[in-house]
Chain length 608, copies 2
């Protein structure tokens, strides 16, 4: 048993038969001295209510899985040293708390940095049932309840999860069910065409019938399947646009097919022109999602959920909130986060995400969305997340998905205690490193919200102009005078997609927060920031600081008593992060000095 449950010695050689049985086993194993009464109260659903009785025993009431979540809440509380609360009541803010795996059936994981797929190898299912139960337990322990096992880019033969592989998919669903985890499949919108149907037009009766029949068979095997996840008309995936239909047409057709079974369609809104001409300054990629979806607000069936990436680009270190998440009041929305550190260090560099998520929720009214999803950072590595400290993201995502008001510091502390049980000063030191790691990474990479100065395709390490003349719509257009894209009404107009108060806040460089400056504005290097520094000096300072902070972080990390094998993995990755941070720092500074001609005001070395 790994990760934060490593200190729980529950022997799971056979799957528990129900969440309640699992709850009972976990409690008696973790807290053998305490008496718990489990009280099934379906009215509480996934929520739970815990009461201490006068005799020192506890009653955990809840729906089927609510009891399980209550049990884990007690265990987390006890094992993290907070003791057992006398009373506790909690219901999840979001009904679907989803992990999206980008696993391919050939065993690779798209943007996976933790080894090969946990589920697949050699174009078929191949998994260790014990690890599936461990994963179920890891998910349940932090309240996660949906697992989409295959990549949204549905590569052959993953489309057969709905067909030939269905019996095996059913067995996997059975394995996860006692953990309160329901499966979901990514599907290929054009799948009917593999069955002699000449079209995938969502308005074609042939297509509709195929999906209905298929849904029927899928739900016969897996009655509690969450539904289908769809990436359509995006980065080369097929979709309704081929047939002159819009995305409501496409999503609603699938929604009809799964409705009789209580199924949902999770429809990803990651649609943009990925063949953009870099010379075209009218098109601005961040505007794309709004342009494709906002006008459809209210048109989607009630069992369709639009899954929107948190920012308008693609999981950069810093992005503003996607305007769709603020503007589609009559549509079911899920917010998509990414645990996989695609652009944020590949699980080599430390990057604890919860401070970023807290910032996101500062601008996002929590009720605007009804679900959250995160792209998985899991793989077949023994520690599941490649970097042992990357597990904090999986853990805290669970807590945030349950309750977005989760306190960042407490959540990370809790994870440290469960995982390493450090003495107080070590815990504090690690806590500080983790909580600061995102800002540090941000400092040494692309400055002040511009993003994308990263090695193309691979997405690790610096390449300041790697995307500059490419087709992806991700440009900074730095020249000898200025850098950034004007996205105000005077520029691309992207900012007009926001409510007026945000337009005001971000529209004026004087009120725009520094860290978003170059996302919204094109500014000369001589621009004077609120604190009196020039823009170019701020860029230099951030980069030098980012590297210095990384060095300091490495000192702390080296001093901590991580157990093996974690220690060796952590230290070797720390060395790679140091190298990476130095490369970023020097390359970005050199890049801007070559353009601006400005020397560092503090005389630090910027290479020619």
């Amino acid at each position: 048993m790994k990760a934060w449950l490593s200190h729980l010695s529950l022997d799971l050689t056979v799957s528990p038969s129900s969440p309640e049985e699992l709850a009972r086993a976990e409690l008696s194993s973790a807290l053998p001295e305490t008496v718990f009464r489990l009280d099934n109260d379906p009215s509480l659903g996934e929520g739970y209510r815990i009461q201490k009785k006068a005799d020192g025993s506890f009653t955990i009431s809840g729906g089927k899985t609510g009891i399980l979540y209550g049990a884990y809440a007690m265990i987390r509380s006890a094992l993290s040293g907070r003791g057992l609360p006398e009373s506790l009541f909690s219901v999840p803010k979001y009904g679907l708390r989803m992990i999206n795996c980008w696993d391919n059936m050939d065993g690779t994981v798209e943007r996976g940095y933790s080894g090969r797929s946990l589920f697949f190898e050699g174009d078929r299912f191949q998994y260790n049932p014990l690890r599936m139960m461990e994963l179920g337990r890891l998910m349940a322990s932090v309240g996660l309840n949906v697992l989409c096992i295959n990549n949204v880019n549905v590569h052959n033969p993953a489309q057969l999860l709905l067909e030939d592989f269905l019996p095996e998919a059913k067995r996997l669903a059975d394995l996860f069910r006692p953990f309160g985890v329901r499966l979901m499949f990514s599907v290929d919108f054009s799948q009917p065409m593999r069955h002699g149907i000449p079209t995938a037009d969502p308005l074609s009766p042939l297509v509709q019938d195929w999906w209905k029949k298929t849904a029927q068979e899928v739900y016969r095997a897996i009655p509690d399947l969450v539904g289908f996840l769809v990436k359509a008309d995006s980065e080369g995936r097929p979709g309704p646009f081929t047939y002159g239909r819009n995305h409501a047409d496409g999503a609603n057709m699938l929604a009809d097919a799964v409705r009789p079974f209580g199924g949902k369609i999770i429809w990803r809104c990651f649609v943009y022109n990925c063949r953009q001409d870099w010379r075209d300054v009218q098109t601005d990629r961040p505007k794309a999602a709004w342009e494709h979806y906002a006008f459809l607000d209210g048109e989607f069936a009630d069992n369709v959920i639009l899954q929107v990436k948190h920012g308008p680009f693609d999981f950069q270190v810093r992005e503003p909130l996607s305007p769709l998440l603020l503007g589609m009041k009559q549509t079911n929305l899920a917010m998509e986060l990414q645990l996989a550190q695609e652009y944020t260090g590949h699980q080599i560099d430390l990057y604890t995400m919860i401070p970023m998520w807290k910032e996101i929720f500062e601008e996002l009214p929590a009720d605007n969305i009804m679900s959250v999803a995160a792209v998985s950072n899991l793989g077949r590595d023994d520690n599941y997340t490649g970097h042992p400290l990357a597990a904090v993201n999986f853990y805290t995502f669970g807590l945030m998905a349950w309750d977005p008001e989760t306190h960042a510091e407490s959540a990370v502390s809790e994870w440290i205690r469960l995982t390493y049980g450090f003495r107080s000063e070590d815990e504090k030191a690690l806590l500080k490193v983790l909580l600061g790691s995102r800002r540090t990474y941000e400092k040494y990479t692309a400055p002040l919200g511009i993003g994308w100065m990263i090695t193309p395709h691979d997405h690790y390490g610096p390449n300041p102009s790697g995307y500059e003349y490419d087709l992806w719509g991700t440009y900074h257009k730095a020249n000898r005078e200025a850098v950034g894209i004007d996205r105000t009404e005077k520029g691309t107009g992207y900012l007009l997609q926001y409510p007026e108060e945000l337009q005001k806040k971000y529209g004026d460089p004087a009120t725009c927060p520094d860290l978003y400056l170059l996302f919204y504005h094109r500014l000369p290097y001589s621009f004077v920031m609120k604190d009196g520094r020039t823009l170019i000096q701020r860029i230099y300072d951030d980069h030098f600081e980012g590297y210095e902070e990384t060095k300091a972080m490495a000192e702390v990390i080296r001093s901590l008593p991580f157990p093996e094998p974690d220690r060796e993995i952590i230290l070797s990755r720390m060395d790679r992060q140091l190298y990476n941070a130095k490369e970023w720092c020097d390359i970005i500074n050199t890049f801007f000095r070559r353009l601006s001609g400005a020397d560092d005001a503090r005389g630090r070395t910027i290479y020619d």
Copy 2:
């Protein structure tokens, strides 16, 4: 039968038994009306002497293969409309006229743009014997006599060509022998270590014995094998440096092993630090070969040939002559060219090389070298070279390797006549396009000798700073003031590796030819060229011209009566070249305008 021999209908279903038999068959098939007498004169070696007799018959005298080359000379002359010369005497300037295939046994071809390997698939030999004979005939028809069939990067299991695959390699050698083509193998310097020998140290008797024993077995199977081609201590390949030995130690050890059988060691001099820190301005990659080899002049065994790339970098559009080719007077040298258009358009863009080779020989005293090699541009495509017009490079390489004084225009004309038999005006039009194609490609790509502004790894299309912060030692260091590397004595000192007159010529921007300016000098954008234009304006002009020339070239190409399937292939690649040329033109101009701030003096569009 393909390429320039397509009009020769010789039916080769079984291999001829000897070059003489082949010569006879070719002559009677191509020139059935003419009587030829073949006269074996071993004293002529590969050369030939042809005399017309009073009765109208011809005598072709020559050594075994000399007769064959004489026969092809007559056929080429007749079929290209020049008639049959009354007398002709020719001996090849270089004894080894080599094609180096970078074919891997898995069927891929490193830097191959003509489909998969002609020789290998699925980690074993797999070839069409008829195509092998076609290839033998293509080589013989232009005097090429050495074929190294496997990649210099010897990937598993190609090391087994010397062992398990030897019987099959022997069969291939037997197939090629009647065409005057002898095989060569690339070998892995560390191969003894796969046989329980704990080292590959060239001074170890165990290692020496292993190679001697292996050479004996190899030569027993293939007595006329040319020898071994070795890439050692280069880009991750093993070599003598591992054991503190120098390259003479390494090469001479192998030379000892093959000497009893008349074998040669072709030792590649492509050694440089491919893990360079971009911050390091002391190291200058073009200096590397000289530093590694020049001091060893005179130390190599007489059956070692150092194979030196023509320029000090790596097959860029324009490079000066490698100083090694001028400075190692006591060493056998081969010059390495590249037919594969790795950096020069991937056999999509037109790039006829002979004008470049002629320039090289203007600075290279032909006697400085004793062999020439070219990296193959061949593959399993029906037309062998991917782009039908890329065959001109294979053809003219053969003629140049035989006689570096070959006239470029005549050679290309001859190829056009043999291949397409165009009417005079079409031939002239195509000739002009082909002869100008290299300069056009040069104009729209990296300017004035700096090179390397190409998409990393893939090497097609522009990426002005793609290599700028990388490990490969290929930097331009363009900033807002200036661009280029000072390689004079005031800079990296590379120029000091040349004879004094060249130091003078290139050392002063005033006398340095324009097209080498940014290779040797770092110059401000405001630098005034000999013709009065500023450097930046010259860059803009070249790029606009390069694109305009490509458009004009496309017009000509579309007007020519190429037969199918060539026409379709040529036109579709021409469209891709047009796109590529436009990308290059605009991206390079934008890149330099962003840095320099200079507008185009002629008001043409340079994008922001």
